[in-house]
């Protein structure tokens, strides 16, 4: 009973974290589902977003401006990965890994900006000293400074903007690029440019998530993005498994990823209450993603054979 009570008590926290990670999940959705690319840049660009935003806020820059700078930094990271992939011919996964690795060094440098040290692995933000947009301190408060409110507004605005963008000629051509490259080129679509553009938009979202997470938790750490891709995938997959049949519209599909992230953090909170160590979480997350990716594959392979043969005959 005590476990249940403390779980319910911690749900607002899970909701806040899930919303902030939800933006990251949307970024993963754009690459993994729309572009059909597994982009590992995100582990680095999440921390880059946090680092850029954190450093600027500590320097006294307006937090909205700091967020914007973080988004631009993430977009730049996506641009590098995109160019490594398209202009240099490096496989997409490896391109992401290269950028991610490079960002590790860069993030240490970014966090030390304005400091006497040359590199720095952590940066503390405090809602008492810094003008943070969101803070986990107020997550159980019934007031306007409750971070869930602003996070929900930001998530809704981001979904609205992306919904609009992917309905434009350019956005449609990015979706086509992910769906069928041959067809896209035959229809005059520059598939290389579109892949780069998709990675830029995605990593902008991821960096925004990092910037909000840094403020929400009051710290930036060099490791904050470690395994982020797997958490993002978990959110996308949970959202898809639970809501794909109900949510047909593109905006709702993006929302499903955010809901997936919230559920993910609710589950994480629960298992922590049940006595798991927080260091066990990465193992758990990897297991969840592996299982959710395996089930549809096995279903296809072992249970729909007869149906598939009929289809290819037609």
């Amino acid at each position: 009973m005590n476990v249940l009570l403390s779980f319910v008590n911690s749900l607002p926290g899970a909701c806040g974290q899930g919303l902030a990670w939800g933006l990251m999940a949307i970024g993963v959705y754009l690459t993994y589902k729309i572009l059909d690319v597994a982009d590992l840049t995100v582990d680095g660009s999440l921390a880059t977003g946090g680092a850029v935003c954190g450093v600027l806020i500590v320097m006294g820059v307006n937090p909205w401006v700091a967020m914007l700078a973080a988004i631009l930094a993430g977009m730049l990271a996506g641009l590098i990965t995109g160019l490594l992939h398209t202009a240099c011919g490096i496989p997409a996964i490896l391109s992401g890994i290269l950028t991610q690795l490079a960002l590790y060094s860069l993030n240490l440098r970014i966090m030390a900006i304005g400091d006497t040290a040359k590199t720095k692995a952590t940066l503390a933000l405090s809602v008492d000293r810094n003008p943070l947009l969101v803070s986990s301190r107020y997550v159980r408060e019934l007031s306007l400074r409750n971070p869930i409110l602003l996070l929900a507004i930001i998530v809704a605005a981001a979904i609205g903007l992306l919904y609009w963008f992917f309905g434009t000629e350019l956005g449609c051509s990015i979706r086509a690029t992910g769906a069928n490259q041959n067809m896209s080129r035959a229809q005059g679509i520059n598939t290389d440019k579109n892949k780069v553009l998709g990675l830029v938009v995605s990593n902008g979202m991821v960096a925004m998530s990092g910037a909000l997470l840094a403020q929400y938790s009051g710290s930036v750490t060099i490791d904050m993005g470690r395994g982020a891709i797997v958490i993002g995938l978990a959110a996308v997959i949970i959202g898809e498994v639970l809501l794909d049949k109900v949510f047909r519209n593109f905006a709702l599909k993006l929302l499903a990823s955010v809901i997936g992230a919230i559920i993910y953090y609710a589950v994480i909170t629960l298992v922590l209450r049940l006595g798991l160590e927080s260091t066990d979480l990465k193992l758990l997350t990897a297991l969840v993603v592996a299982v959710f990716l395996t089930v549809p594959y096995w279903k296809e392979k072992y249970f729909t054979k007869a149906k598939k043969e009929v289809e290819t005959d037609a």
């Binding site: 449609c172 086509a176 005059g188 679509i189 037609a314």
Partner: protein, 270 residues
């Protein structure tokens, strides 16, 4: 410089795949061909003769080694595939290849309508277009006009090829490239798609280049027939001669020109 009177000029084109390796293959060997506006040429030849390679060279799937390709007076030899697309309509052998399965029928058409245009931040599909698509889909007589928001992945192979044809001609191409586009369909569906192809080429006065494995189709369609062997054209028949061409004529000519009699007709007829 005088205006070219040809819609397509292939001038002395060479292409070798995997040069310098054991898999080296000279696929196009001094290929030249000129098509006038309104020509509908059917292309036959045994496996590996260079039919599809010739088509891909025109489409710009990869750069050629030597020679030039001119479409309606403009040299496109150096243009990447996606830039040439503005001049070309294409239908592939694999019905999966010509459409985006995860997108709606109307979205696929909207992508095709904008071929060769800059894609910016205007709406990807407008109300006015939807009416146009509905009317065009009705002409296919497949009931697709009532399924405009259906994902293309749910259509049959024949339906997808018909839709791809519509997409290839939605914005009038200077040249329509058909790469064995009925080979993957059952005979009845193949015939229907070929009829649609004929109608579209006739109604829009298109210039077309149709690669086929089927000699009967090659004889029955188009106003010109070419036979390829080892990367070049060995037979070119047009006009009245083409109209009276029989299957036996073609087989005899192939034996005579390629220097080997066809012991296995299936090479050409498959």
């Amino acid at each position: 410089m005088p205006e070219s009177k040809y819609m397509l000029e292939i001038n002395d084109v060479y292409k070798t795949f995997n040069p310098g390796t054991v898999n080296e293959k000279r696929a196009l060997n001094s290929l030249s061909l000129k098509l006038k506006e309104g020509d509908f040429v059917t292309v036959i030849g045994s496996n590996g003769a260079g039919k599809s390679t010739a088509l891909n060279a025109i489409a710009g799937v990869w750069p050629i080694d030597a020679g030039s390709i001119v479409i309606d007076g403009q040299d496109v030899t150096g243009l990447p595939e996606y830039k040439r697309a503005g001049y070309l309509g294409r239908v592939f052998q694999d019905p999966m290849n010509g459409t985006a399965a995860t997108m709606e029928i109307q979205e696929n058409l909207a992508l095709a309508l904008r071929r060769g245009q800059r894609r910016g931040l205007r709406r990807g599909i407008t109300k006015k277009e939807q009416e146009q698509y509905r009317d065009l889909l009705r002409t296919l007589d497949l009931g697709l006009e009532d399924r405009m928001t259906t994902k293309v992945g749910l259509l049959s192979g024949g339906q997808r090829q018909a839709l791809t044809l519509l997409m290839a001609t939605l914005k009038r191409p200077k040249l329509l490239l058909l790469d064995e586009h009925t080979a993957a369909l059952d005979p009845k569906t193949a015939e229907k798609v070929l009829d649609t192809t004929d109608a579209m080429i006739r109604d829009n006065h298109l210039t077309a280049f149709m690669v086929t494995h089927n000699m009967k189709d090659a004889i029955a369609h188009g106003n010109r027939l070419i036979m390829m062997n080892e990367g070049r054209i060995i037979l070119d028949i047009a006009g009245e001669e083409k109209k009276h061409l029989s299957m036996q004529d073609l087989l005899d000519k192939f034996a005579q020109l390629s220097g080997n009699s066809i012991t296995n007709d299936s090479v050409l007829l498959a």
